[in-house]
């Protein structure tokens, strides 16, 4: 049972995008950032990391009309069979780019079932794991 959540510290990000590559390889067996469930965009003086925060009170789950998104243990997970690509979750999510549709599929982080590849391979400390406490989970919903 996963007891950790991913902590995102964009200030530490160096913009290497290795997270995107290991994500797409893990889930699709190919390398393609467009298929990645985490994206990094370089701005002049920092990087934006776009991915699901697994909020404690997820707006996407509330918005989903088909029940494709649900909270399982600490995570928000997608049941692809139920998803009709309506995009309601994308509109409801407060984090731009956290959810995307590419190649007829909603791209949604599942934390690799508890050991996220992006965290394992992050060289800078921008992505780490931390034990979930109520306070931490709440903080995780803030931008």
């Amino acid at each position: 049972m996963p007891s950790d959540l991913r902590k995102i510290n964009a200030k530490e990000c160096v913009g290497c995008r290795i997270c995107e590559l290991v994500c797409s390889l893990k889930h699709y067996g190919v390398i393609n950032p467009q298929r990645a469930r985490i994206r990094v965009y370089r701005l002049e003086e920092w990087d934006e990391i776009e991915t699901c925060r697994h909020c404690k009170k997820p707006k996407c789950v509330e918005a989903c009309p088909t029940g494709a998104l649900e909270i399982v243990e600490d995570r928000v997970v997608l049941d692809r069979e139920k998803c009709n690509l309506c995009g309601a979750c994308i509109e409801a999510c407060p984090f731009p780019g956290a959810l995307r549709i590419f190649d007829n599929e909603l791209l949604k982080c599942d934390l690799c079932g508890g050991e996220p590849e992006c965290v394992t391979h992050c060289p800078s400390g921008a992505l780490t794991l931390r034990a979930v406490t109520a306070a931490a989970a709440a903080e995780n919903t803030e931008i």
Partner: protein
């Protein structure tokens, strides 16, 4: 839809994009299997394609429509292989009149692959200023009169706004448009294909930019073995003792090393002892100017830095200068403080110019002035004069118009013996490190296939305090670990050149292997093999490196290169280092060159011998 023939490729995308700017034709051609099996990718592809494309290369005007500009990627681009964000542009250089290429990091190389191409060849010349927009299979040539004269920053911002934030942009600034022989091509705003005046060739084609968006998959031959090998390489790199400092301070640590060894080129190389070295130290720079570290695509070293000069007349923010730029625009001109150097670097970036060439030319002009050979009055250390010259070169104003044709042209024009201290080889301005403090470096600079350049060999082995026993083990000679010795250096440089060609062709960054020697040919062979399925081993991949070196040599010979061009300025050959740890040293090039030719299999005329070409399976 993925074409059936393409999907067979692993690691590679299997296609070449050919854009002719004269007639507007756009062709997609299959990547020849033989090219991949013999030349690996990237630099190797560029060199071989240039060799096959330019019939009678000696007669091709580098700035004419017959010259081509080849953007090439390697089998590791776009993957998580360590520091695999490099790519190469190959052309006939207007600066040297010889084979030329430039290599850059950032994320553009990966995007070329994601768009479905290994190589993009640009031919001909557009009638008006255009850019090429690539979105996977859709390729269009678009006029762009509104970007005429615009700098790298404004051009990149404008094109990203037009085509979306996933867009990767390679472009030229005003220097490229004006065909200045220091002109670079910038990608991702802050990464530069700087050497050999590739930006001037792009300008000659009326090509302002290439914009790329890719959504295609890269398939690997053996994903599991590949990822395992990648992780092994990550560990080798991060566990090396040089990693923490390099990751934190970046190439500024090399400034420290050069200062300690008395090789921090000062006043146009008059000495290697720089009295303001403390103001240039890695610690001083990091603490005072660096906002944060940045990495290229898929790189765990992240040696780049974002620099900020907060206020004053040198106020600027952007990619900070690397070691080479710090020396070229700083110590070589005897500038006491870093602020104007950071500012001059920022200007070179925005105008789209090679800092090594620009700084080298400025330092040369300062010395000509000191010696009374030109009417202009320049004072060592005068930062405003230095910055003024940066602008004059970029816009070809006043003396900048002659300077924009390169140091060799200037020296020919000024005469009066100034060639002795014109720090160039084959017409290209020499980089920072004073070769009197590392003789292997000296040989490497003299024979580099793209002119005065350190990255063709980068024989750091002699500088890293290895033991004589290790020297024997690696290169069969204990002297190879002694920077001041010339013995054994030919063989050592040759190994480094072949390996560098492998690394440049797979398109990884040399900092992974030439700073630590943690990643070796066998590792490279495995990475490429697991990515592509082509059965490389350490020996065969080094043979490919040697093949690439020899193709480049054949191109150069065809362009008129003779053994006299494998040389260094007299300053390094005859003027002993006046002070510091390397006091009294010169580069004994004449003692190293004959052995180098011998082990390369080249004749006294500098041509690869027929046996060598046969051995390497290079057919004409």
């Amino acid at each position: 839809m993925v074409h059936e023939a393409e999907s067979k490729w692993k690691g590679y995308m299997g296609r070449i994009l050919r854009v002719n700017l004269t007639d507007g034709s756009i062709k997609k051609e299959p990547l020849p299997r033989k090219l991949a099996e013999n030349y690996i990718g990237g630099r190797g592809f560029g060199s071989r394609i240039l060799y096959d494309t330019l019939k009678n290369p000696g007669e091709v005007d580098p700035l004419g429509p017959r010259n081509v500009l080849i953007f090439s990627t390697g089998p590791l681009n776009g993957t998580m292989s360590p520091s695999s964000g490099r790519y190469t542009v190959t052309t006939k250089s207007p600066l040297t009149g010889l084979f030329g290429d430039a290599n850059s990091g950032g994320a553009l190389g990966a995007e070329i692959k994601y768009a479905g191409y290994d190589v993009i060849i640009v031919e001909g010349r557009a009638k008006e200023l255009v850019y090429i927009n690539i979105r996977d299979d859709e390729v269009e040539i678009i006029p762009v009169p509104d970007l005429k004269g615009k700098g790298i920053m404004a051009t990149t911002d404008s094109l990203v706004e037009r085509h979306g934030r996933d867009t990767k942009v390679a472009c030229i600034g005003p220097a490229g448009e004006k065909m200045v022989f220091c002109a670079a091509i910038a990608n991702d705003k802050f990464h530069y294909l700087a050497r050999c005046a590739v930006g001037a060739v792009m300008g000659s084609k009326n090509l302002k930019a290439i914009t790329i968006n890719g959504t295609k998959d890269i398939r690997l031959a053996d994903p599991e073995a590949f990822l395992k090998k990648v992780e092994e390489c990550y560990h080798k790199i991060t566990e090396d003792k040089t990693y923490p400092d390099f990751a934190y301070y970046g190439t500024a640590v090399i400034t420290d090393i050069a200062a300690e060894s008395g090789g921090l080129s000062t006043r146009n190389g008059q000495t290697g002892v720089f009295k303001y070295a403390d103001n240039y130290s890695s610690h001083h720079y990091r603490e005072n100017f660096v906002g944060r570290s940045e990495s290229c695509f898929s790189c765990i070293i992240h040696c780049s830095n974002y620099a900020v000069v907060k206020d004053g007349k040198y106020k600027c923010r952007g990619k900070g200068p690397e070691y080479e730029s710090v020396v070229a625009l700083g110590s070589k001109v005897d500038i006491p403080d870093m602020e104007p150097v950071i500012y001059a670097n920022y200007l070179c970036n925005d105008y789209g110019m090679d800092t090594i060439s620009v700084g080298g030319i400025i330092a040369f002009l300062f010395e000509c002035s000191e010696k009374g050979l030109i009417p202009e009055k320049y004072e060592w250390g005068d930062a405003d004069q230095m910055i003024d010259l940066v602008k004059k070169i970029a816009f070809r104003e006043g003396i900048g118009d002659d300077a924009a044709r390169g140091m060799k042209y200037l020296a020919d024009k000024i005469g009066q013996g100034c060639h002795d201290f014109a720090l160039q080889t084959k017409g290209m301005e020499l980089p920072a490190y004073d070769p009197r403090t590392g003789k292997g470096f000296g040989l490497g600079l003299a024979v580099a296939s793209r002119g005065g350049d350190h990255l063709r060999a980068l024989p750091n082995f002699e500088l890293l305090s290895y033991t004589p026993e290790e020297g024997v083990k690696w290169f069969g000679d204990p002297h190879t670990v002694d920077p001041y010795a010339w013995q054994g250096k030919a063989d050592m440089v040759l190994w480094h050149e072949d390996f560098a060609a492998v690394v440049d062709s797979a398109e990884m960054c040399k900092y992974c292997m030439f700073a630590t020697y943690a990643i070796l040919p066998q590792d490279m062979a495995e990475l490429v093999k697991y990515a592509t399925g082509i059965d490389w081993d350490g020996k065969s991949i080094m043979k490919a490196g040697e093949r690439i070196l020899n193709i480049e040599r054949l191109l150069n010979v065809a362009c008129g290169l003779t053994p006299d061009d494998d040389s260094l300025p007299k300053r390094f050959l005859e003027e002993p280092m006046p002070e510091g740890p390397a006091k009294g040293q010169i580069v004994e090039l004449d003692k190293m060159l004959p052995r180098y030719y011998e082990v390369r299999g080249w004749g006294e005329d500098g041509r690869p011998k027929a046996e060598k070409l046969q051995e390497l399976c290079i057919e004409d």
